[in-house]
C-alpha cells in the first residue's frame, strides 16, 4: 500500500471514529432531522385534505379537525427543527473539541525529538483550523442523512407512480453520483494544500508575535509583512483553486434537476397525450422531481464537505499517529532514587558524519556535584537532556541507580531528575504557582523558603502583588536573571534526587550571582548535581569538574587541580586572560 493510500485509509478511520464517538449526538440529529423532514412533507398534504374534505364540501367539523392536524404537524416541525439544530451545533462543538483535545493531549505525550521537528504553529493550526472541517461535517450530518432518505423515498414513490418515466429520470443518478464522487476527490488535495498554507501563515504570525522585540528592533516589520502577504496570497490562490472546482461541480449539480424536469415534460407530456398517464399523476410526478432539487444540491455539497474533512483528517492523523520515541517500559523497575547517575558508551546526535556524543562515559556518585565544562556545541545540553530522558541515546546506556532509564517509568525519572534550562519558561499564572510547578501540593511556606534559597524572595516582594503577581506570557515582565531565579526556586521546591542545571544561572548578573551562590551551594549539598556553567565561581561550587570535548570526557578532576594542571581547562575558561 502506497503512502497516499495509507494516509487516506487512516483519514477514513479517523472520520469514522469521530462519527462513532458521538452515538447519541448523531442519532439524535438523524432522528430529529427525519421527523422535521416528515413534517415538512406532510404539511402540504394536510392542507390538501383540509381543502378537499373541509372547505369544498362545506364540512366545518372536518376542516377544524384537519386544521388541528396541521397545527400538530407545525408543532412537530418546531420541536424536531429545534432538536435538529441543537444536535447539529452540539455535534459540531464536540467534534471540534474532541479533535483539539486529542491533538493537544497527544502532543504533550510526544517527546522533544518530535517537537524539534514540528513547531507549535503547525500543531496549533491542526488543532484549530483542520478540526473545523470535521466540525462542519458533523454539523451537517443530520440534515444530510435526512436529505438522502428523502431522495430514496421520492425515488420509490416515483417508481410506483410510473416505473418507465421514473427510470428515465433516475437512470442517470448512479452515474452522476459516481462521477461526482470521482470529481470530488480533487477537493481532498486542494483542501490539504490550502490547510498547509494556513498553517504556514499562522506559524509566521506566531513567530512574529513571539519574537516581536527582534522584529521591531530590526525594523523587519515591512519585510515580514511582505512575507505574510505572500502567504496570504497563497491562501487566496488555493482557496480560489477550490472555488474553481466548485465552479464546475455546483453548476453541474444545479443543472441536473432542470434536465430532469425537461425530460419528464417531454416524455411524460407525450405519455399523457397518448393516454398512458393521468394528468394528476403527471402533476404529482413533476412535483416530486421538484422536491429532489434542493436535497440533491445539498447532497452534492456534502460530498465536498466530506472530502475536505478527509483532507483535514489526514493532517490530524499525521500528528495523532506519530509515536513517542520514548516508550514506557512494559515491566517498570521500582526506583528508590539514590541519585547515582552513570553514562556508559553513550552515542547521540549527528553533526555531519560524526556523533555529538561519541562513546561518552561519566559517573556521578549519590550526593556528588559535578560541573560539566566544554565549548559551545560540545554536547553539554545533550547530556542534560539524556539524563532527564528527553531523548534516548542511540547507543550505550544512561543509568540511574544502576537501572537503565528505559526500564524506569518516565514519570519516576522526571520526578527524580529535575532539569533547569537556560531559558526559563513561565506559565501565565501567579509567581507562587510558577514556583510550585515541580510540586503542586507544596505549602505557601515551602514556596517562600524555596524562593528565599534561590535569591528570588527580595524581588518577588517588590512585585505589585508579591507571590500572587500573575506573570505575563512567557514571563515578559521579568528580567532574564529574575526568571532564572524562579526556575531555581522551582527546582529547589521539587527536591529531586538529581538536579541538572543547564546554564541555569547564565542570565543572573555576575554582580548578583554571589547572592545565589550560597543558595546553589545549599541546594547542591547532599544532592547529585550536574552543573553546566561558564563562570569559574559557579563551577568552583562543584566537587569535581568534567571537561567535554569531541564527544567524550577528556579531563576529570577538581576545579583547583584542573586550574593548576590543565592548560586546556584554563583556556576553556579564558582564565589566562583574566589572570594577565
Amino acid at each position: 500500500m502506497g503512502e497516499l493510500e495509507a494516509r487516506r485509509a487512516s483519514a477514513w478511520r479517523f472520520v469514522r471514529a469521530i462519527v462513532r464517538a458521538q452515538p447519541y449526538g448523531v442519532s439524535g440529529a438523524v432522528v430529529s432531522g427525519l421527523l422535521w423532514q416528515t413534517g415538512a412533507v406532510a404539511a402540504p398534504l394536510v392542507v390538501k385534505y383540509a381543502i378537499d374534505h373541509g372547505i369544498v364540501p362545506h364540512d366545518h367539523g372536518a376542516l377544524l379537525l384537519w386544521l388541528l392536524v396541521l397545527a400538530g404537524v407545525g408543532l412537530l416541525e418546531v420541536c424536531a427543527g429545534a432538536f435538529r439544530h441543537l444536535y447539529a451545533i452540539r455535534n459540531r462543538a464536540h467534534t471540534d473539541a474532541r479533535v483539539r483535545d486529542a491533538i493537544f493531549a497527544h502532543a504533550l505525550r510526544l517527546d522533544a525529538a518530535y517537537h524539534d521537528q514540528v513547531g507549535p504553529g503547525e500543531l496549533l493550526s491542526r488543532a484549530s483550523s483542520d478540526s473545523l472541517h470535521l466540525a462542519r461535517m458533523m454539523d451537517a450530518i443530520g440534515h444530510t442523512i435526512g436529505y438522502a432518505l428523502t431522495v430514496v423515498a421520492v425515488a420509490i414513490v416515483m417508481l410506483i407512480l410510473d416505473p418507465q418515466l421514473a427510470l428515465i429520470v433516475l437512470v442517470p443518478v448512479p452515474f452522476v453520483s459516481v462521477g461526482a464522487w470521482l470529481y470530488s476527490r480533487r477537493y481532498e488535495r486542494g483542501t490539504r494544500e490550502l490547510q498547509e498554507s494556513w498553517a504556514q501563515a499562522s506559524t509566521l504570525v506566531e513567530e512574529t508575535v513571539s519574537g516581536v522585540r527582534v522584529v521591531k528592533g530590526l525594523g523587519a516589520g515591512g519585510a515580514l509583512s511582505a512575507t505574510f502577504r505572500g502567504r496570504s496570497a497563497q491562501i487566496k490562490d488555493r482557496a480560489l483553486h477550490l472555488a474553481r472546482l466548485d465552479a464546475i461541480f455546483i453548476p453541474a449539480l444545479e443543472t441536473l434537476p432542470l434536465l430532469g424536469i425537461a425530460t419528464v415534460l417531454w416524455f411524460g407530456g407525450r405519455s399523457v397525450i397518448d393516454g398512458g398517464l393521468s394528468v394528476g399523476s403527471f402533476v404529482a410526478f413533476n412535483a416530486y422531481v421538484v422536491m429532489l432539487v434542493w436535497p440533491l444540491r445539498v447532497l452534492g455539497q456534502r460530498v465536498t464537505t466530506l472530502q475536505k474533512a478527509l483532507a483535514a483528517s489526514s493532517r490530524i492523523t499525521e500528528v495523532l499517529e506519530a509515536e513517542p520515541q520514548l516508550r514506557e517500559p512494559r515491566h517498570p523497575v521500582e526506583l528508590g532514587a539514590q541519585g547515582d547517575i552513570r553514562l556508559e558508551g553513550v552515542r547521540f546526535g549527528h553533526e555531519g558524519d560524526r556523533f555529538v556524543l561519541d562513546g561518552l562515559d561519566l559517573h556521578v556518585a549519590p550526593g556528588e556535584s559535578l560541573a560539566l565544562v566544554g565549548a559551545t556545541g560540545s554536547g553539554k545540553s545533550t547530556v542534560a537532556g539524556l539524563l532527564a530522558r528527553l531523548y534516548d541515546p542511540e547507543d550505550g546506556r544512561v543509568l540511574l541507580d544502576g537501572h537503565d532509564l528505559r526500564e524506569l517509568r518516565l514519570d519516576d525519572v522526571r520526578r527524580a531528575v529535575a532539569l533547569v534550562f537556560e531559558e526559563t519558561f513561565l506559565f501565565s499564572e501567579s509567581v507562587r504557582e510558577n514556583i510550585r510547578v515541580g510540586r503542586p501540593d507544596a505549602s505557601d511556606e515551602d514556596v517562600q523558603r524555596a524562593a528565599e534559597l534561590a535569591g528570588a524572595a527580595a524581588f518577588i516582594g517588590g512585585l505589585p502583588d508579591g507571590y500572587e503577581t500573575v506573570l505575563g506570557e512567557r514571563g515578559f515582565s521579568l528580567s532574564g536573571g529574575q526568571r532564572q531565579r524562579i526556575a531555581i526556586a522551582r527546582a529547589i521546591l521539587a527536591d529531586p534526587a538529581v538536579l541538572v542545571l543547564d546554564d541555569a544561572t547564565s542570565a543572573v548578573d555576575a554582580t548578583k550571582e554571589h547572592e545565589i551562590r550560597a543558595a546553589l551551594a545549599e541546594v547542591m549539598r547532599g544532592r547529585t548535581t550536574l552543573v553546566i556553567a561558564h563562570r569559574p565561581a559557579t563551577i568552583a561550587l562543584a566537587d569535581r569538574v568534567a571537561v567535554l570535548e569531541g564527544g567524550r570526557i577528556v579531563e576529570l578532576d577538581t576545579h583547583e587541580a584542573l586550574l593548576r594542571q590543565s592548560a586546556r581547562y584554563r583556556a576553556l575558561l579564558a582564565l589566562d586572560e583574566v589572570a594577565a
Binding site: 483550523s129 504570525v205 432542470l258 397525450i273 506570557e473
Partner: protein, 584 residues
Amino acid sequence: MMERASTREVWWESQPFLRPVQRLYLGAGVAVIVSTLITLAGPALVKYAIDHGIKKHDLHPLNVAALTLLGLAVLKPLVVRAQTLLAATASETFLDRLRGAAFDKLQALPLGFFEQERTGVLVSRLTSDVQALDEFLREALVEVVGSGLQIALTVAVLVVLSPKLALVSLVALPVLIASSWAFHHGAGRAYHAIRDRVAETLTVLQEGLSGVRVVQAFRRESRTLEDYRPRSRAQIGAWRRASFVNIRLFTMIPLAQTTALVAVLLTAASMYRNGSISEGTIAAYVLYLVQLFDPIARFSEWLGEFRQGLAALGKVVGLLRVKARIVERPGAVELPDDGRVELRDVTFGYDDGPPVVRGVSLEFASGEHAALVGVTGAGKSTLAKLLTRQYDPSSGSIALGGVDLREGTLESLRRRIVLLPQEGHLFSGTIADNVRLARPEATDDEVLRALDEIGARERFESLPSGIRTDVQTRGVRLSAGERQLVGIARVALADPTVIVLDEATSSLDPATEAEVELALAAVAAGRTVITIAHRLSTAERADRVVVMDAGEVVEVASHDELVRQGERYARLWASWQAGVTAGA
C-alpha cells in the same frame, strides 16, 4: 487593549476592503438574480405545458416548454459558474486584504501592546476569526439576494391571487418579528462569546505547545490538560448557548407558517361559502404560501451565519482599530545617514503612569560607542525604546543628525536605527532566511558577506548544508551563541547608522563569547552604538558610560574617569569585579 467594535464601526472599517470588490459582488448579485429567475421559470413552464399542451392534447406548447427548459438547463450552469467564481474571488480578495491589514497593524503597534496581549489571541485574530468569515462572505450574497428575490416574487403572486388572503397571511408577521427580535437580542453576545472562547483555547494551546519541554520536564502534562479542559469545555458551552439563541429564530419559522396557513384556510372556508373565491385559487394560494416559507427559513439560517461572521469581523476590526501611536507625519523627511544622536530634555512615562525617564539630555557623536549602565528599573530599556522610536517622548525630543525622529519617515527610521536584542529569536527557515529577516531580497552572496563581516562565515558554512541549514523550530539546533551570531549578522546586513544594543544577560562559554564579541565589534565599527550594558566589562570598553538611576542620568564620562571619581559607577564597578574574580 482591543475593544469590541460596534456593528456600525465594523461597517465603516470594512469599507476600504469592500470597495475594491464591490463590482465583483455586484456581478455575482446579477448572476444570482438570473439563476433564481431560471429556477422559478421551471414550474411556470410546466404549468404552461399542462394548461396549454397536455390538457388540450396539443404537442406544440409541450415541445416549446420542454425545449425552453432544455435551453435554460444549458444556460444555468454558466450563470451559476459565474456567480460562484465572482463571489469566491470577491470574498477571498476581501479576506486577503483584511489579513494583510491586520498583520501590518501588528507591525505598527507599540511593544507595550504585545506585553498586554497574549500570542494566542493575536494568532486567533489573524487565523480562526478570518476563517470564520469565509463561508459567510461567499454564501451571504447568494442567500440574501436569492432568498430576497424569491420572497418578493412569491409575495407579489400572493397579493395578485387574493389581496384579502394576503392580508390575513400577515398574522404570521408578529411571530416572525418577535422571534427575530429575540434572536438579535441574544445573538451579538452569544457569537462574540464564541470568538472569545476560541481565542482563549488557542492561547492555552499555544502556551502549552511552546512550553512543551518544560511541561514534560516537570511532569505537568496532566496538569496542563486539566487547565486546558475547562477552556475547551467553555468553547462548547459558548456554542451551546449560541444554538439556544439560534432556535429562537430558526424553529419559529414553521410556527409562523402554520399560523398563516390556519388563518388563511379558515378565511378561505368562509370566502368559499359565499362564493368569493374558487377552489383552484385556494389551492394555488396555499401552495405559494408554503413555498414562501422556504426562502424565509433559509434567510433566517443565513442570519445565524451573519451574526457569526459579524462577530468574527468585529474581532478583526477591533484589532485594526487599536491606535498606532507611532505614525508618520505628513511631509516626513528621510532621516540622514548621520550617526549624531541628540536627546533634549526627554521625559517619558507609560500610559499616564509616573515618568520612568526624566529630563534626559545627552549627545552621542557619530561613531561613538556608549554604554548605558544602571540597576534594573533605572530606565535603560525604556530609553532604548525611545531611541528606536518604539514610543515617542512625552516631552523633549530625540534627533538623528539634527532631524527630530518624529519628522522622519518610518521607513528611514527603521533603516537607520536598529535595536538589537542580543538573545536571538529564530524564525523557521534556513540560517540564510533568518539573516535576511529585514531584507528578504538579499542574495545568498550578500548573506555570506554579512556573515564574513562579523567573522562567522566559516562557522555556518561548515554546517552540513551551510547557510541553507534549516534552523528548525525555535532554533533548538543552534546554540545560544550561534543564535546571537545570526542576530548580529542580521544587523550587519541591514547596515544601519545607529545600533541600540540590548546586551545579552546570559553568558556563553568564553570561546564563543569571544567570537560574539568580535562579531559585535565588527558590526559596531564606524557606527554609533548605544549599549544597554548588563556586564560592566562592556562599559569598560565603551568610549563613554552613561549611568542611570530612577529615570535620570546621574553620571556621564569615560570608564576611567568615573572610576576615578569614586561615585556611583565606581561602586558598581567594584562590586562587579568582586563577582567576576570571586571564583577564579
